[in-house]
Structure formats: structure tokens, C-alpha cells
Symmetry: C2
Subunit: 140 residues, 2 copies
């Protein structure tokens, strides 16, 4: 059974359109609603919604950071060399400069977070099915 | 009738404790739950909940900015010399460096927002009852 399908309608913030701009850095369908993109502000803010099993590639924020504010559903966050974490609404993640990581939905739930991002992302290899299944086993 | 009393229990993020640290810069009771306070990150993130009629003093963010992500209830945002704005869940406010402003709940509703703040605040005079009532009339 798929959980939290109501996230298709957004949680507080709009779900946004299909995230075509970043699709090449994701496995599965994600949606992006920009919330802040302002030349005078050194962070960008966006609401990202992931369908079940959708996740982004491994990536690094250089000369910056990322903060995730989890708004709904169930997700996964993993830093390289660390066990995966299970995320639910209200969880907050800080990814420091230079840390390789990925995030996405669990296999049986939609997931959404607000992302506050500074610096320049470097997109790396996808999280393949074996890595993804192992990540889910870390918290089951 | 007071609206959105459920915000007393938090919206996604915890309501937090009474905001004693900043009480001298507020009229009325606010609550603060810190979400990110990290020496490696140049913004602070917190969830602020306002009881009805609660508002902060006029203030300025120097060498920085503030982003408000409205999570629930009904609120007010005003920049000096501008009409007040009525805020509801999903609204996003960006306050630029040096802009004098205040925010708070409407007189008949609880209100909550996540605040992302950079720089140094300068706290100024309170929003007195006459200013507050006039602000509410701006959008009624």
C-alpha cells in the first residue's frame, strides 16, 4: 500500500510542477515549487515532493550547505559512509559543505521537504537499486 | 471567536517553549522552537508561534535578511511606509537587508511561521495598539 498520497496536493506549500530541470539528477518523478529565488539572498528555497522510491543522485554542496525541513510523508537521508536515516514530518537535516549525500522517498510513501540551499551543487552517480534497498534496511 | 487554536500544538514543527529570550521585543506571548543553530551555517532557523494579537517590535536585519515561511493561522507583515499584508499558510515573505518591518498574529487568530534569518537584528520600538489596529484595517 502506498502511504501519504495526499502529498500530491502539497503540504502547506504547493506541490509544484514536474521537476524537469533536475530530472537528470533523479531516479523517479519529483516535483518542485520554488519559494525563494532572489538575487539579493544567498540561499534558494524550494518545496520538493518525491513519489515513492524517487530519490536524487549522490551530490555535494560546495561553498555552501543544505537544510531540509521535512513537511510530510516518509523519506530517506544518507551521507556517504553513514547509515541511512528515516525521515518524517518535523525532522530537520543540515548537510555541511562538502558532504556527499542523497535524499528521497521511501519505497512505499510519498515524501516532501522544503530545501534551503547555499553554494554550488555537484551532481554525482545515481543511487542504484541495490544501494537504495540497503538504505531502507538500515532503519527497518 | 479565536481561530486556529490548534496551532498551540505546533504545525509540522513543535510549538516550542515560551519565547522568553525575545519577550522584551514582543507584545503578547510568542513561542520559539529552534530548528537550526549551527556554527558552520550562516542562517538560523526557528519556528515561531504567536497567540492572537501578539507581534514583534519593528526591527531591521543588518548585513543579512529574513525569510518567513508561513505554516498556519493568520498573520500580519508590514514594512515601514507600506500597507500591511495578511498572511496565511503557504505564504512566503523575504525581508531584505536594512528594511524596517514587523510581523505577528491577527487579533482573532493564532499564527505560526518558520523564520530563516541571517545577519544581526536591530530591535526598535513596539507596534502600539493604534498602529496594530490600523494595520489590520489595511486588509479587512
Amino acid at each position: 500500500m502506498i502511504k501519504n498520497e495526499n502529498l500530491k496536493n502539497g503540504v502547506i506549500f504547493p506541490r509544484g510542477a514536474k521537476n524537469d530541470a533536475y530530472a537528470k539528477y533523479f531516479i523517479g518523478q519529483s516535483y518542485l515549487q520554488g519559494l525563494v529565488a532572489d538575487s539579493k539572498i544567498d540561499v534558494g528555497v524550494g518545496n520538493v515532493t518525491f513519489e515513492p522510491s524517487c530519490r536524487n543522485n549522490w551530490h555535494i554542496h560546495h561553498d555552501g550547505y543544505q537544510i531540509l525541513l521535512v513537511t510530510g510523508g516518509e523519506g530517506i537521508y544518507q551521507e556517504e559512509g553513514q547509515p541511512a536515516r528515516h525521515l518524517v514530518a518535523g525532522d530537520v537535516i543540515v548537510t555541511h559543505d562538502g558532504v556527499k549525500h542523497w535524499h528521497g522517498a521511501t519505497s512505499n510513501s510519498w515524501f516532501s521537504h522544503v530545501a534551503i540551499t547555499a553554494g554550488t551543487p555537484e551532481w554525482l552517480e545515481p543511487v542504484d537499486d541495490i544501494q537504495y534497498q540497503k538504505a531502507e534496511e538500515d532503519f527497518k
